[in-house]
């Protein structure tokens, strides 16, 4: 059974290669799709990868949201299909209002590129089944605009519907600030209630091969591929 996962390349994306490789290592049929395309070519899941789509002009994700491919992404999400936004992809999903809230300049007004510790808050989603709830993993972030903000109503709703996917946490023995960007409630990633539309700032695809010293991020992609294979077989 095919487990096709589309990775969309926008002008300015720069993490599509690692994302494609991570899907392929997980046994998925990874397909690169151009932002000018209007069809997902049968993909069961879509990844909006990291980067700086349209140079982050106006606001990160604000222009990418109007790319031709986004109508298909929106329809896919509305039909219960899996959509995963990593870093810039998360920013695009928020701008497209497929996820609530917004990502603003880091509180310290600097680009931050370093490993962070995040706690997985849900494993009943399309891309976290291979983690334990409460598991803390160390993966890289690399962003200038990762400070998640939302209205008090939205924050209450995220809590109530269990839509916080991962949080930055302090691990004993580390002396760096655990929250790298001033994100509200230490939120590193969120999802919809069904766990099918997901966005987060950390980059699991950058730490998904043992030759890099850790493959702790690979399980996002094994989870994702298992999910789409299971659904395709059902």
């Amino acid at each position: 059974m095919s487990a096709r996962v589309a990775v969309v390349r926008f002008p300015g994306s720069n993490c599509e290669t690692e994302s494609l490789a991570a899907v392929e290592r997980a046994g998925g049929d990874a397909r690169l799709i151009d932002y000018r395309d209007t069809d997902l070519h049968g993909a069961a899941a879509v990844i909006l990868p990291g980067g700086f789509a349209y140079g982050d002009y106006l606001r990160s994700g604000a222009i990418a949201r109007f790319s031709p491919i986004m109508a298909a992404v929106r329809a896919h999400a509305a039909a219960g299909g899996v959509v995963l936004g990593i870093c810039n992809g998360f920013q695009i999903l928020c701008e497209a209002r497929l996820l609530p809230g917004a990502l603003l300049h880091n509180a310290q007004q600097r680009f931050v590129a370093r490993p962070v510790d995040v706690r997985i808050e849900r494993n009943d989603t399309a891309c976290t089944a291979d983690y334990r709830v409460g598991e803390v993993i160390r993966i890289p972030v690399a962003h200038g605009e990762g400070r998640f903000v939302a209205s008090p109503d939205v924050l209450t709703q995220l809590d109530r519907d269990n839509c916080v996917l991962m949080r930055y946490v302090q691990v004993d023995g580390t002396d760096v600030p655990h929250n790298p960007n001033g994100s509200t409630d230490d939120i590193a990633g969120i999802c919809n209630a069904a766990g099918t539309v997901l966005g987060f700032m950390p980059h699991p695809e950058r730490l998904a091969d043992a030759s890099l010293g850790s493959d702790v991020g690979q399980r996002f992609f094994t989870s994702l591929v298992k999910r789409v294979v299971t659904r395709a077989a059902a």
Binding site: L58, R59, A62, F66, C94, E95, P100, G101, A102, L104, H105, N106, A107, Q108, Q109, R147, V149, A150, S151, G182
Partner: protein, 82 residues
């Protein structure tokens, strides 16, 4: 007629504006005293072909709602120029 429209976008009150804080700090270092709540936003100049200033303003408002400002984090103000 062609109407000049000036759109001003600022971070919503109450949201941390690290750019504004950095600028406030730098101005203080230069000896400019007595400032508070410096906020950094964006200014966008548009030239809109419209029948009247009211129509141009309504068009600019739709532009702000759909693209120019993020309703979650930003407020906007529209001024009609000469």
């Amino acid at each position: 007629m062609k109407i000049r429209v000036h759109v001003r976008i600022v971070p919503r009150q109450g949201l941390l504006d690290p750019q504004g804080q950095a600028v406030e700090h730098a101005l203080g270092a230069l000896g400019f005293d007595g400032m508070q709540d410096v906020r950094v936003g964006k200014a966008i100049e548009l030239h809109i072909e419209a029948a009247s200033a009211a129509v141009a303003r309504a068009t600019a408002e739709r532009m702000c709602e759909q693209l120019l400002a993020n309703p979650v984090t930003e407020d906007f103000a529209i001024e009609i120029g000469a």
